[in-house]
Structure formats: structure tokens, C-alpha cells
């Protein structure tokens, strides 16, 4: 009874908003910001994986390069940080045009491999182009200007950054619920039929790829401002893998799942690092293996499945 009230959409949204607003009271604020940015990255990845049937293993390219672009804007222009973050997202979307154009030529497992390879290319560029990216050191001391408001406290910065994440999530939600989003699902379920109905399948894929990259860039740029740095770690394939891990853990094809997965993985990693556990991948990797083997619908997907089963 209580559960069914909670599960109604407006209640759920309100609950989510309350959790988002209350988060830095319960979680160390920089970690709260990490949860929010990774949630947006996970949702961006799920837009492709869950709603279009494309497993991108290369979103580090967008998250990481937007971090660099945002950092450079922040370091050299003194623009308010939301503008710099937006600049990063635009950069990521632009980078997604050639990568997406080439990647959507393959589907399924090939798509994953191709995106992964192009992301590695971006990684090499970031590593070699030291004049711009500072190579191994990365960009340091990225400022957070916002019309003279003092945001040096992570607690306050969280509330300054959260609207960007929420707007990104809203955009993803709008995409999924739009006619465009329905076409994506049709492409996922039966590409041949979608093509036969006259939809230019590859163009749809490219557009959603760009949207997804822009959202990933928004998240990456905000994360760079939050940490005050942009580094090679952001463009490395482990970042892509981590985002996919969050989606699978939370539940493929459910936007809530990505958010939930991000919260769990960031918390788990934070816990492991404060506990000084050497080799966090042993734990996160094992959890992931178990989820893939036993819980393929992820946490949110499993719960949603129960609810649906009870409703029927």
C-alpha cells in the first residue's frame, strides 16, 4: 500500500528531489557532487544502452574531454562556471559527431569495440598534447567563479552545481518520453522494422549519440570544476567502464537505475578508499560480475519487475 503510493510518479520525483537536496547533509559534500555528476554520466550512457540498444564503451572520451574544455575555459576566461561547463558539453557534442558517425556503422558488440577504440584515441591525444592538457599532471586549480558568490565550500558548491545535473537529467527524461525517444526504442527493438517504416536509423542513432555525449560532457565538466582538476584518468577507458557498470547495476533502460547505480558505486569506492583497501577493482569488479550473472535487470529493474508482476 505504502509502496504503491511511493511508486506513483509525482511522489517518486518529489522523493528523488528531496534526496538530491538533502544529500550533502548526510554524505561528505564532494562525494555528493560526485554522485550527482556520475549519475548524469550513467543516465547519458543508458540513453544509448537502454533506449537505443547501443553499448558505448567510450563515454570517457566525452566526459574527459569536456573536463579539459571546461577547465581551459575556467582557467583562461574567468567565465561563470556554469557557462564553462556548458562550453565543455558543447565540445563533447562536437567531438561526438565524427566518432558517432563512424561508430553507428556497426552495431552490438562491434559498436562497443569501436567506441572503446576511439575513446582510446582521445586518451592518446590528451596524453601527447602536453601544451594544452599538461599531460600526466592534468589541469590544476580550475576556479569556480559565479558572479562573486563564494563557492569555495563544497557544501555550497553542491547546491550551485546540482541544478546543472537536474537540468541534464530532465533533458534525458524529455528525450526518452518524446516521439524521438519512441523511435529510438523502436530501433532498439527491431532496427529492420524501424528502417522499413522509413526512419533514417543511422541518423537517429547519431543524434542520440550526440545528445548522450553532451550530457556526459555536462557531467564531466561539472566534475572537473568540483574537483578543481581535469586529468588523464577522466579520458581513460576505466571511466567508460565505470559508467556502464553503474547503469547495469542500477538497471538498464530505467533512468532511475542509472542514478541509483551511480550512488552505490561512488559510495562503495569512497568506502573502500577511506578503509584504505588496496585494489578496489577486486570488490567493484566482483559485484559487477555477480550482477551480470544473477541480476541482469539491475536493482531498479528488478524492483520495477516485481511491481509489474504484482500489478498484473
Amino acid at each position: 500500500m505504502i509502496l504503491s503510493v511511493l511508486a506513483r510518479r509525482p511522489v517518486l520525483l518529489l522523493l528523488g528531489l528531496v534526496v538530491a537536496l538533502a544529500l550533502p547533509w548526510f554524505v561528505y559534500p564532494p562525494i555528493a557532487m560526485d554522485i550527482a555528476t556520475w549519475a548524469l554520466l550513467a543516465v547519458a550512457v543508458d540513453l544509448l544502452l537502454g533506449y537505443t540498444g547501443l553499448l558505448s564503451f567510450g563515454h570517457a572520451a566525452f566526459w574527459g574531454s569536456a573536463a579539459y574544455a571546461t577547465g581551459l575555459l575556467g582557467l583562461h576566461t574567468g567565465l561563470p562556471f556554469p557557462v564553462a561547463v556548458l562550453g565543455g558539453a558543447v565540445f563533447a557534442a562536437a567531438l561526438a559527431v565524427p566518432i558517432g558517425y563512424l561508430s553507428v556503422k556497426r552495431t552490438g558488440i562491434y559498436f562497443a569495440m569501436v567506441t572503446l577504440a576511439f575513446a582510446q584515441m582521445v586518451y592518446f591525444v590528451a596524453n601527447q598534447w602536453r601544451d594544452v592538457t599538461e599531460g600526466e599532471n592534468g589541469l590544476q586549480g580550475i576556479p569556480r567563479p559565479l558572479f562573486g558568490v563564494d563557492l569555495s565550500e563544497p557544501f555550497y558548491f553542491y547546491y550551485a552545481g546540482l541544478p546543472i545535473v537536474l537540468l541534464g537529467l530532465l533533458a534525458a527524461w524529455r528525450v526518452v518520453r518524446s516521439p524521438f525517444g519512441r523511435v529510438l526504442v523502436a530501433i532498439r527493438d527491431n532496427p529492420a522494422r524501424a528502417r522499413a517504416l522509413g526512419y533514417p536509423v543511422d541518423r537517429y542513432k547519431l543524434v542520440v549519440f550526440m545528445i548522450s555525449a553532451a550530457l556526459a560532457g555536462l557531467a564531466g565538466g561539472l566534475s572537473a570544476v568540483s574537483h578543481g582538476s581535469a586529468s588523464l584518468q577522466g579520458v581513460h577507458w576505466t571511466t567508460s567502464g565505470q559508467a556502464v557498470m553503474m547503469v547495469v547495476l542500477g538497471g538498464i533502460g530505467t533512468l532511475w537505475g542509472g542514478v541509483l547505480g551511480a550512488g552505490l558505486v561512488v559510495q562503495l569506492e569512497d568506502y573502500l578508499s577511506t578503509a584504505q583497501f588496496n585494489g578496489p577493482g577486486i570488490v567493484t569488479g566482483s559485484v559487477f560480475v555477480l550482477v551480470v550473472l544473477l541480476f541482469r535487470k539491475g536493482l531498479w529493474g528488478t524492483v520495477a519487475g516485481w511491481r509489474r508482476a504484482r500489478a498484473e
Binding site: G108, M113, A117, V244, G281, S286
Partner: protein, 290 residues
């Protein structure tokens, strides 16, 4: 000119590793439809296996070259039997994700035990000098690694194209239902084939140990380069994958000579060109476009 030839040879040597890894990846994919993300981690385990056998048990390179691939093949067989098999019949993406998780675990286990610093592995005495190739002197070990790789790739190719086992494996790959209907137990070949592919990765690792830094992350970037290689060659084609492996090694080495800053990027540029021109890879069969 000598410089050019020498660099070509360097390219073929590093191509040997791409070729061997692409071969294992292609064999596993061809038979099982599994893209094994953990292939790089198995390669790394091969190198560490040789290192551990040497430092802990005093087992030398030659014995390791036999033992380690066998041990890894057994390990690979277990991974197939207890993990990969669970996902039979599901979207291959789940296998990709599973092997990604396995990679994280293996990599961090080794990192935890040995740290991230590279471990030295001495060259076997018999292969320590240089060889006079007429135009220039070349390290004997590199020549050896190249020879082993070429021989193995050829042997596997012959095995698959000229023997009854190869016939069964290929038939099971291409038409599993029909092969099964002809009375061949297709499932029986799954574990051995997976184990064989993993063994090849392990062998490549042992071969790499005396030449390259033995380090927990050595497989991580390698596996992505090998993915690019098989996309270039055509993942469905074992021949194409191996050939693309050598070609990419060569391309990178020549890139090092002429455009040093861009050498590593060339592989991915080549991949982009191939995707534009032949989306299924140079030797891949054109599949029905979904």
C-alpha cells in the same frame, strides 16, 4: 634505408603480439560469439606467471613458455565453465560486460600483490645476444618472438583449415544448429576452444615478459589496441585479424619513424578509414545490416 628496414622489423615484432592476441580473440569470438574483454588481462597474467615461476620457483623461461600457457588455458577453461557459460544464449553484450568485470578483478588482484611498478624479467641466456641479419644487427630475442608468433599463427590457421578438428570447429562456428543436427556435439568444443584462446593470450604474455615491462596494467591498453586490430581485420575472420595485427604493428613502427607524436593514434585513424570504406573490416564477411 637500414633504419627503415630495422623499423619495419620492429613493427613486425610488436605486430607479433597483436597478431597472437587477435588470433586468440578471433578464435574465441568465432566459435562462441564471445568478445573476451579479459583477453588483455590473460596476457598480463601470462607475463606475471612467467615472472612468478622464475622468482618463486626458479623455473626458467623455456619451461615457463610451456607451463604458463597450459596453466592459463586451464584457468580459462574454468572461467568458461563457471562464468561465461551462464550467459549462453543471451546478448553477447553480457559476455563483454562479464569479462570486463573479470578484468577489473584480475588486474587489481595482481596490483595488490605486486604493486604497479614494472618487474624485470631477464632474457634467456641462449637468446641474449644479437643476430646478424645482413644489413643490421638485431636482438636475437626479438627474432625469436617473431618466429614463434608467425609459426603459431600459421599452425593455428592450418589446424583450422586443414584438419578434421578445424572442420568441426568451423562448422560449429558457422552453422551450430546444422552441425548439431549432423550428430556433432557442438557444446563439447566450447570449453576447449575458450581455453585454447586464453592459452594463446598467456603465451603472448610469456613471450612479452623479457621484452616489455611486466606490470599489472600491461594488458589494459593492449586489449583496446587489439580490439581496433580486429575491427580493422574483420572480427569474423581469423586470417584477417592476424594479418591486421602485423599490419598495425608495422604501421605504428613506421609512424614512430616519420610522425613520432602521432604513432599511437595511427591505429585508430586506420580503423576510422576502414569503417568508412568497409564497415565489416578488411576481411570480414558482410553481414545483413540491421
Amino acid at each position: 634505408m637500414t633504419n627503415f628496414l630495422q623499423q619495419c622489423f620492429n613493427g613486425l615484432v610488436s605486430g607479433s603480439f597483436y597478431g597472437l592476441l587477435a588470433l586468440g580473440l578471433a578464435v574465441i569470438f568465432g566459435m562462441l560469439g564471445v568478445v573476451n574483454f579479459a583477453h588483455g588481462a590473460f596476457y598480463m597474467l601470462g607475463a606475471f606467471g612467467a615472472y612468478v615461476l622464475l622468482t618463486e620457483a626458479g623455473i626458467d623461461f623455456w619451461l615457463a613458455l610451456v607451463c604458463v600457457p597450459v596453466l592459463l588455458a586451464v584457468f580459462g577453461g574454468l572461467v568458461e565453465r563457471f562464468l561465461v557459460r551462464w550467459l549462453t544464449g543471451l546478448d553477447p553484450l553480457y559476455n563483454f560486460l562479464l569479462t570486463f568485470g573479470i578484468t577489473l578483478v584480475l588486474q587489481d588482484l595482481v596490483k595488490r600483490e605486486y604493486g604497479v611498478a614494472s618487474q624485470p624479467y631477464p632474457r634467456p641466456a641462449a637468446l641474449s645476444g644479437t643476430l646478424d641479419l645482413g644489413l643490421f644487427e638485431y636482438p636475437t630475442y626479438q627474432v625469436f618472438a617473431f618466429a614463434v608468433s608467425v609459426t603459431l599463427c600459421l599452425a593455428v590457421w592450418l589446424l583450422l583449415t586443414r584438419t578434421r578438428i578445424g572442420l568441426i570447429v568451423r562448422a560449429s562456428t558457422e552453422r551450430p544448429e546444422l552441425t548439431g543436427a549432423l550428430g556433432i556435439n557442438v557444446r563439447r568444443w566450447v570449453t576447449p576452444v575458450f581455453a585454447f584462446g586464453v592459452g594463446l593470450a598467456g603465451l603472448a604474455g610469456v613471450l612479452a615478459a623479457p621484452m616489455r615491462a611486466v606490470n599489472p596494467l600491461m594488458g589494459a591498453d593492449m586489449v583496446i589496441a587489439v580490439f581496433a586490430v580486429v575491427v580493422i581485420g574483420g572480427l569474423g575472420s581469423i586470417f584477417g585479424s592476424v594479418l591486421a595485427g602485423y599490419a598495425v604493428g608495422l604501421l605504428q613502427a613506421l609512424g614512430q619513424l616519420y610522425v613520432p607524436g602521432l604513432a599511437q593514434i595511427l591505429t585508430f585513424v586506420l580503423m576510422a578509414v576502414v569503417l568508412l570504406w568497409r564497415p565489416s573490416g578488411l576481411f570480414g564477411r558482410e553481414e545483413a545490416r540491421a
